[in-house]
C-alpha cells in the first residue's frame, strides 16, 4: 500500500522535476523555451529556428546552441551590409536572470545547416535547445516559407 502510494506520489510529482511542455513550451529549472518556429525549408538548405527563451531562475543562463536530427544547431547572429545578408556563428549568449532572450528573424537564430529532409508546414519536428546547461526538448511549428512569426506570437502562457 505504502509503495503504491509512494509510486503514485512520484508519478504525480514527476512533472515538477522533469520537463513540461505544452505543444510549444519546453521548461526546466526556471528556463523556458516557447514559440519555437521555423519557416518551411527544402532539403539541403539551412533552416533557422526562432524562439523566446525565458530565464526566471536566479542565475544567468548561457544559450549555446542546440541539436536536431543528431546534428548540432549553431547559434547565429544576423548582419547586413554592402555584401548582403550574413549569419555569423556566436559562441553563446547570456540570458540574464529574470530576463528574456528573443531569437527572431534577421536578428538571432539557431541554425540547422543542410537539413536532411524537407521541412514542410504541419510536419512534426522536435529540437533540443541547449541553455544554462539544460537540454530542453521543444516542439517546432513549421510555418509557410515566407512566415515572419510564430502563429501564437504574442500569446501568454
Amino acid at each position: 500500500m505504502r509503495a503504491c502510494l509512494l509510486s503514485l506520489l512520484l508519478i504525480v510529482a514527476a512533472p515538477a522535476f522533469a520537463e513540461t511542455h505544452d505543444d510549444h513550451v519546453a521548461e526546466a529549472e526556471g528556463l523556458r523555451v516557447v514559440h519555437v518556429w521555423t519557416p518551411a525549408t527544402g532539403k539541403g538548405s539551412d533552416a533557422l529556428f526562432y524562439m523566446e527563451i525565458e530565464n526566471s531562475s536566479a542565475a544567468e543562463a548561457m544559450l549555446t546552441g542546440g541539436e536536431a536530427g543528431g546534428q548540432e544547431l549553431e547559434l547565429v547572429g544576423f548582419s547586413y551590409g554592402a555584401a548582403g545578408e550574413a549569419w555569423t556563428v556566436l559562441p553563446g549568449l547570456p540570458v540574464p536572470a529574470g530576463a528574456e532572450l528573443d531569437l527572431e528573424p534577421k536578428v538571432l537564430a539557431l541554425r540547422w545547416s543542410s537539413v536532411p529532409m524537407d521541412l514542410v508546414p504541419g510536419a512534426e519536428l522536435e529540437i533540443e535547445v541547449e541553455v544554462g546547461g539544460q537540454h530542453l526538448h521543444a516542439h517546432v511549428e513549421i510555418g509557410e516559407a515566407g512566415a515572419t512569426g510564430h502563429s501564437h506570437a504574442g500569446h501568454n502562457h
Partner: protein, 435 residues
C-alpha cells in the same frame, strides 16, 4: 551534384551559370559556321544596309540597356544604403518607430522623437560588454548640412583616422564631414532646425570652429558637421552633462545633468555582445535595434517591386527579340537577290544559311554589347544623381546578374535567328534572282 555545386565559390558558380546561359546560342553558331567563312561577305552586306542595321542595333541596345541599367542601379542603391549603415551596430532610443529612428540617426533625416534620458544613457554606457555608447543628438544645421552632437569615439568609429586636422577637444569645436560646407579652421553658427524653416539666428552668439575633417564614408555623414554633444546642449541653454567645474567633454556624464539624446549608438567589445545588449535594452522604456535588420526588412519589401521591374525588363527584351526576329525576316527580303546569286553560282544551302545567321548574329551581338555599355552608363549617371541628392554614395557597376541577363538574351536571340536563316534558304531562287 548539388553538393558539388554548393561547394563552389560564388564567383565560380556565377561564371558557370553565365557560360551555361550563353552556351546554347554559341553552340548553335558553332554548328552553323563549322568549316565555313561567311564573315567577309556578311561584312559587305552589313555595310550595304548600314542605316537599317544601325536601327536594329539601337533597338537591341536600348532593350538590353534597360535591363542592365535596372539591375545595376537597383543593386547599387541597395548596397550603397546598406554600406552607409554598416558602422551603426546597435541603436538604442526611446520606444517608437525603428524606421524613423534609423532614418534620423543613420541617414540624418531627422524627425521629432522622444529622448533617451540621462539615467537611461548611464545604464546603457555602463552595461557589461559596451565598448562605447555615443549619443547622436541632431536638430541643428548649417547651410543645409546637419549639425550633430556626439562623442570623439563616434567620429573615429564612423570614419577612422581623420583626413585632416584633429578631433574636437572642447564644446566649441567641430569635425567636418568629408564634403561639409566648412573648411578646417573655419567657423560656423548653427541654425535651429533643418531646411528652409531653419532658424538661422536662434543660436546667434554661439560658434563652432572646425578642427578636423573626416575621410569620406559614402553616407550622409560626409556632409555633416559633428560637434561634442555638450556643445549642442550648451547652445540650447541646457546643462551640458557634466558638473559645473568639469571642463572636459565626452563620457562619463552625470545622469542628472544630462538633458537627453534622441539616439545612442552602442558598440560592443565582442560581436556577440551587440545581440546581448539588444536583448537587454528591448523593454518598455527603451527600444534597441540593429539598423542592418531594419534596412534588410525594408529592402525585402522593395524586393517585390524589384522583381516586378525585372520582369518588365525581361518582358521588354522578349518583345524586342520578337521584333528583331520579324525585322530580320523582312531584312532577308532586302538581301534575297544577293542570296539568290550565291545559290545560283553554286553556294551550298548551308553556306547561305550561315550568311543569314551570321548577319543576324552580328546585329544581335553588336546590340547586346552596345546595350551593356548603355546600361552601365545610364546606371552610373543615375547613381551620380542619387548620390548628389541623398548623400548616400551609390555606385552602380556591372555584375554577374547583368552578365547573366545579357548571356541569356544573346543565347535566346542567336537561337531564334536560326528561323530567318531557315526561311531564307527556302525562298524561290529564280524569283529572287530576277528581282
Amino acid at each position: 551534384m548539388a553538393e558539388l555545386w554548393a561547394a563552389l565559390p560564388n564567383a565560380a558558380q556565377d561564371l558557370l551559370l553565365a557560360l551555361a546561359l550563353v552556351a546554347p546560342g554559341l553552340l548553335a553558331g558553332a554548328l552553323v559556321l563549322r568549316g565555313l567563312r561567311p564573315l567577309p561577305l556578311v561584312g559587305a552586306m552589313l555595310r550595304r544596309f548600314a542605316f537599317v542595321n544601325a536601327l536594329f542595333v539601337a533597338l537591341i541596345a536600348v532593350s538590353v540597356g534597360l535591363g542592365v541599367g535596372l539591375l545595376a542601379q537597383e543593386r547599387g542603391l541597395r548596397q550603397g544604403s546598406a554600406r552607409a549603415a554598416e558602422k551603426f551596430d546597435l541603436i538604442v532610443a526611446a520606444p517608437g518607430s525603428e524606421v524613423t529612428v534609423m532614418l534620423a540617426a543613420v541617414y540624418l533625416q531627422p524627425s521629432d522623437m522622444a529622448l533617451v534620458t540621462g539615467p537611461q544613457y548611464a545604464e546603457i554606457a555602463g552595461a557589461e560588454g559596451v565598448a562605447f555608447a555615443a549619443p547622436i543628438a541632431f536638430g541643428d544645421s548649417f547651410q543645409g548640412a546637419p549639425v550633430v552632437g556626439t562623442t570623439a569615439d563616434f567620429v573615429t568609429h564612423l570614419a577612422g583616422p581623420l583626413a585632416e586636422g584633429r578631433v574636437f577637444a572642447t564644446s566649441e569645436e567641430a569635425v567636418a564631414g568629408a564634403f561639409a560646407p566648412v573648411a578646417v579652421g573655419g567657423s560656423f553658427t548653427p541654425a535651429h532646425g533643418h531646411g528652409p524653416m531653419a532658424e538661422g539666428d536662434a543660436h546667434e552668439g554661439s560658434a563652432y570652429t572646425v578642427t578636423g575633417r573626416m575621410a569620406p564614408t559614402g553616407s550622409p555623414w560626409d556632409r555633416a558637421l559633428l560637434v561634442p554633444v555638450e556643445g549642442v546642449w550648451e547652445v540650447h541653454g541646457l546643462a551640458n552633462g557634466h558638473a559645473p567645474d568639469d571642463l572636459r567633454i565626452g563620457p562619463p556624464f552625470v545622469p542628472e545633468m544630462m538633458p537627453g539624446t534622441p539616439a545612442v549608438l552602442v558598440h560592443a567589445a565582442e560581436l556577440w555582445g551587440n545581440y546581448a545588449l539588444k536583448s537587454r535594452f528591448t523593454r518598455s522604456d527603451l527600444m534597441a535595434f540593429f539598423p542592418g535588420t531594419v534596412l534588410s526588412q525594408l529592402h525585402g519589401l522593395m524586393r517585390d517591386v524589384r522583381s516586378a521591374m525585372s520582369l518588365m525588363a525581361v518582358l521588354t527584351q522578349v518583345l524586342v527579340t520578337l521584333s528583331v526576329l520579324i525585322g530580320l525576316m523582312i531584312l532577308v527580303r532586302l538581301i534575297a537577290r544577293s542570296l539568290a546569286l550565291l545559290r545560283a553560282i553554286g553556294a551550298p544551302l548551308r553556306f547561305v544559311f550561315a550568311v543569314v545567321w551570321a548577319y543576324s548574329a552580328a546585329l544581335i551581338l553588336s546590340g547586346a554589347g552596345l546595350g551593356l555599355a548603355l546600361g552601365w552608363g545610364a546606371a552610373r549617371a543615375i547613381s551620380a544623381a542619387v548620390t548628389a541628392r541623398t548623400d548616400v554614395l551609390v555606385t552602380a557597376n556591372l555584375g554577374w546578374p547583368e552578365a547573366h541577363l545579357v548571356a541569356g538574351f544573346i543565347s535566346l536571340t542567336l537561337f531564334m535567328a536560326l528561323l530567318p536563316a531557315w526561311l531564307a534558304v527556302r525562298r524561290p531562287l529564280l524569283t529572287d534572282l530576277r528581282t
